[in-house]
Amino acid sequence: MTADLATAPLLEVAGLHVWFELPGGRELHAVQDVALTLEAGQRVGLVGESGSGKTTTALTIMGLLPSSAAAAGRVAVRGEDLMPGLENGFRSHRWTDIAMVFQGAMNAFNPVRTVGWQIAEPMIAHGTATGSAAKARVAELLELVGIPAAAATRYPHEFSGGMRQRAAIAMALACEPKILLADEPTTALDVMVQAQILDLLTRLCGDLGLALLLVTHDLGVVAQTCDDVAVMYAGEIVERGRIDALFHDAEHPYTRALFAATPDLYGDEPVASIPGSPPDLARPVVGCAYRPRCPLAFAPCVDVRPVLAPVSATTATPPGTQPLTEPLTEPSTEPARHLVACHAASSARAT
């Protein structure tokens, strides 16, 4: 796989900032210096609480920010930066390269058009299929996500919640995109349907070689679906790494608190909530954004903003703490997969 090293990543987001203009001339710095890469077949979860900037990040990748927002940074598909062209730059890539499954598929469909019409629409708009070819493709896509092809002539309100979400996925696949953004695709679905949808997404990524960016507040969903996780807090990515690394050896106190706040099915450990609330992003944040809620905060956290830095292999898995678990596959191409932005983590490493 040396060719992959030479070519640019499938999706590269670097130095991404997003500001929302607030009434009264103030600005809300919603996304701050976010960096992400996605390769074919990779499944990455973007986790954070409401208002942490995860959905805004996804919308920026699609170029779908409202007009009250300003963005800076790099969003590149196979090395081609889409940001300078803005609306026009993004439009040709929408759905053909990057498609999106929206939160709450009920409202993602136009209520007065049939589901089949809406799945076929992007194919016709991008000229990938027309007429009977588009019709055949719609049937194929519906079968792929487990909906009978005859349902194409029905309206969104005639579908159940789970079926609508499946149809939304079928619609996202219409133009054979390489990258799939899924924004809370299973919120508002019951647990059984949620599991089916996640299985479907995982299967499709494997079968079609799709790269998946899964935006969610639910760590369980990420653990079930993704290989990598990025944890967002107050508009920044505070920790990034493989799901098992974060699950067992989270370095950032916020990540640890998030895991502690997830109910444990098998243990008796009480669910711990995180005291306090995230900072107001309409004001400049000095130092570490998590400091007011952090139990480990110390002097440098007050005025020095921590940056994402690799967690050294020795710190991530100190000898003796873990049994010998040799990775079965080749180690990933990137040398440092586990990154954290925390003074406490780096000082612990130093001592």
């Binding site: 699609m62 779908l64 439009r91 040709s92 890539h93 929408r94 759905w95 053909t96 498609a99 999106m100 929206f102 709450g104 409202n107 993602a108 469909f109 136009n110 209520p111 007065v112 058009r113 629409e121 992007p122 708009a125 991008h126 309206y155 309100h157 619609m171």
Partner: protein, 321 residues
Amino acid sequence: MRGSDYLVKRSAFAVITVFVAITINFFLFRVLPGDAVSNLARIPTATPELRHALRVQFGLDKSAWEQYWLYLGQLLHGNLGISFANQQPVRDNLVTALGNTVPMVAIGTVVAIVIGILTGVLSAVRRHTVADHVSTNLAIAFYAFPTQFLGMMLLILFAGLLPSAGMSDPFALGDVSFGSHLADLAKHMVLPAATLALTLYGENTLIVRSAMLETLGEDHVLTARAKGLSRRAIIRKHALRNAMLPTVTMIGLSLGSIVSGAILIEVIFSWPGIGSALYQAVLQRDYPMLQGGFLVITVTVILLNFVADLAYFRLDPRITS
């Protein structure tokens, strides 16, 4: 079938509404103080015998219930009675009046709907631009103008340029070709039709604008953008189509107010239509004429609403009953 079910329900509802309206119309006018006889017999030599004879002739000596049953029975035969005022069949009077009203009102309404939809869509698509501000404020101003005020202002402004009263020039006797008659009629129609169009269009603009803005803010429009559709395609295939739903209903409902608007406009411009006829009938306590006129108005409003319902049914697949 969802279609036939809906049709039957809506039709039944329309028929019942018409019946209730007929009943209310009948009793409403009999609650008014004064009657036709006291109006007709207002001559010094009117004897009690003459008054009684008139009462019997018009059936006013019978009880209200008896009159009501007689009225319903005759109505089923298509007989709307004889006008107290001019002794002609009410039906003939109404047909003549309607023939004059319908073209004027129809043109005014269609113009109002077309301008309303165009300016409303433009305002929504160009939201917060100068064009939007101008269009929206104009619409609010015209919506707020009382019909009679706007009518009289137009009358004052254009009285010299355009005919200001009636439907035709009573002195145009020389040239009586069809073409010149039509041109004369059109000239006379400009002011009343324009008054109606202006008073209606503002409301339509505001309805269409808000419906468009609401639709443009919906999640499925974001999906359409995400799909890489052009702005034009999004507006045409998604926003416009969906914004038509509330627009059809609200325009359908607002059409009911055309009738009241027509009364004022016809009185101001001396247009010999149903509005003028009703106005005269009220002054003369001409019950059969009033009942007939209101029947026409009621049926028109209910019919227009019925048509709006059918249109809504065609446009929105979610409606099942």
